[in-house]
């Protein structure tokens, strides 16, 4: 690859008397498509003239399923959408329902939610970093990333019992309080993680091959990025300083201090740098959340919505009745509709919930950041080389479970 490649040259599709264009199908079983994405590539030699993403191979009708499940049963479905960021999905969904119910969430529960969302964001970015580097050819980074991610998954497992499908956030608070000694374990992770980030930088950031593969590849300008609805690190990589945690704060994010990393490059390299710096910021937020943890309740005071403690059920008849009713019949949610956006690890995750007043939602829709970010991919990749496509997909950090739903 020539080192003078700068911006993608504009390609005009004109008559092809020699018929040199070739259409090839990349995926759905291609390892660098991160799941089952199929790309229809129209190639002129090694140059990409046109890209048509073909999605839906993982479509499981989740939004349909929500309409047949009670509100609290929907939480486990959200785990399976963006399976690298399940706690973010949990949070968006439960907050949407809580907004319909107008529930007040105790401070400790909010702090623990922030703590876990940021740990999950780091874990999600670690998978992105490992696989992105792997796609480009730097194999070593993958193992270092998964070593760190394992520590986070162990933390999530300690609190919720699940590693990839925690369902830890419940409508009205949390499943249960943190286990004893949890703060100390997070503290251990906190102490070790900055050195790990330095390790990643040493492995990758100064690597000339990695730089050549990512700089000036997959360029998108700030105006185009907004027009295409990009969000999260992809948008901030184009120089737009937008973070839902600051723009529309939720779960007390307005009380935390953190920077919004941006880069002006608009290319794969800029998105790489943004995510690397975001991990540091998340690490900072986790530290602040730890310091803010005060003893207190982790469930809202709403006996008709929140499951009672097991101990209370053994002693109080009304707790037992509430438990039975919530499990058997669910709880009614007032009629209305909400759109709840959060800053997930990949961008704006919005949940639209419409209630008709019963125990099951009338409609649940997820605005997955991966879905929207992938829709901008043809715009980014026209005029790129075939090998760049792999770098561009990696830089978008897509999860097909969320795209296809």
């Amino acid at each position: 690859m020539s080192s003078t490649v700068t911006l993608p040259p504009s390609v005009e599709i004109v008559d092809q008397p020699l018929d040199t264009q070739m259409t090839i199908s990349m995926g759905p079983q291609h390892p660098s498509t991160h799941g089952v994405l199929r790309l229809e590539l129209v190639l002129d030699g090694e140059m990409v003239v046109k890209v048509k993403p073909d999605i839906g191979y993982l479509h499981t009708g989740m939004e349909k399923l929500f309409e047949y499940k009670k509100y609290q049963q929907g939480i486990v479905i959200t785990d399976r959408m963006d399976y690298l960021n399940p706690l973010g999905n949990n949070l968006a969904y439960v907050m949407a329902v809580e907004k319909l119910l107008q529930l007040e969430i105790p401070e400790r529960a909010q702090t623990i939610r922030v703590l876990f969302c940021e740990l999950q964001r780091i874990a999600s970015h670690l998978v992105w970093l490992g696989t992105h580097a792997l796609d480009i050819g730097a194999m070593t980074v993958f193992f270092y990333c998964f070593r760190e991610r394992e520590k986070i998954l162990n933390l999530i497992e300690a609190a919720s019992g699940g590693r990839l499908t925690p369902s830890y956030f419940r409508i009205g608070g949390l499943m249960m309080d943190l286990p004893p000694g949890f703060e100390r374990r997070v503290q251990q992770f906190q102490e070790a993680f900055p050195a790990a980030i330095e390790e990643f930088h040493k492995l990758l950031t100064g690597n000339k091959i990695f730089q050549k593969r990512t700089q000036d590849v997959g360029y998108i300008s700030a105006e185009d990025a907004i027009d295409w609805g990009l969000s999260g690190p992809c948008l901030r990589g184009s120089g737009v300083r937008l973070d839902i945690r600051r723009a529309n704060p939720y779960s007390s994010y307005e009380q935390y201090e953190f920077e919004i990393p941006t880069e002006n490059g608009g290319d794969v390299w800029a998105r790489y740098l943004v995510r690397m710096r975001e991990m540091k910021e998340s690490h900072r937020i986790v530290g602040q959340a730890l310091a803010r943890l005060k003893p207190g309740p982790v469930k809202a005071d709403a006996p008709k919505v929140v499951l009672p403690d097991r101990e209370a059920m053994k002693r109080h008849m009304d707790a037992l009745i509430h438990h039975f009713l919530i499990v058997a019949e669910g709880f009614d949610v007032p009629a209305g509709e909400v759109y709840m956006p959060i800053e997930a690890s990949k961008g704006e995750l919005g949940v639209y919930v419409k209630s008709d007043g019963g125990p099951k939602p009338a409609r649940v829709h997820f605005r997955g950041p991966s879905f929207v970010n992938l829709s901008a991919m043809p715009h980014m990749s026209e005029g790129a080389m075939v090998a760049d496509i792999v770098a561009i997909i990696g830089s978008l950090d897509i999860v097909l479970g969320e795209i296809d739903r």
Partner: protein, 180 residues
């Protein structure tokens, strides 16, 4: 370029700091006064504003809200359909969730459609991101977006029969699907 280049810029921007001079509900109300034929109703509930837009004017409303400086809804966060049920009239809703990347406020536009005529003009000319959202809504609800550049199914196979998120589409079926 080194890591942490523009770390120094103060980033303590919050929602309160972004000039909240006109709220979305005031915006929608003003737009309704100005163009009564565009917006039939404005509802404020749960800190969210919903403007019911007349179907024929959806593109004009969107273009206006995008370009007007006090609104500057330059970001289409989401577009989704809702089926109220086969017995309801109007049966379908199309929700447009607008967001401003400078003012940080949000607004929901809602278009109501009847079962026998589920057509609505496309807004891909206003925001290109509407493309896939509209394809998804077409795929799952059968709402037809007039003027859409590429209105094909997106999640389900091209030869799929019916629209899966309609209320009268069954959750389960017993016929296996096979590609033709």
């Amino acid at each position: 370029m080194t890591v942490g280049d523009n770390e120094k810029i103060s980033q303590n921007q919050t929602a309160s700091q972004a000039a909240q001079d006109v709220t979305p509900s005031q915006l929608a109300a003003a737009l309704q006064r100005e163009h009564p034929e565009w917006i039939s109703e404005v509802v404020n509930a749960l800190n969210e504003t919903t403007a019911f837009v007349n179907r024929d004017h959806i593109v004009a409303v969107c273009a206006h809200l995008k370009s007007a400086p006090e609104a500057s809804f330059n970001f289409l966060a989401d577009l989704c359909g809702v089926d109220r049920g086969p017995e309801e009239e109007p049966r379908f809703e199309v929700n447009y969730h607008l967001f401003s990347t400078t003012k940080y406020h949000r607004l929901r536009l809602k278009v109501l459609l009847y079962d026998e005529d589920p057509h609505v003009p496309t807004v891909t000319g206003v925001w290109r991101t509407a493309n896939w959202h509209e394809r998804e809504t077409f795929d799952l609800f059968g709402v037809i977006f007039d003027g859409h550049p590429d209105l094909r199914r997106i999640l389900l196979p091209d030869d799929w029969q019916g629209h899966a998120l309609r209320k009268d589409f069954p959750l389960r079926g017993y016929e296996p699907y096979s590609l033709k």
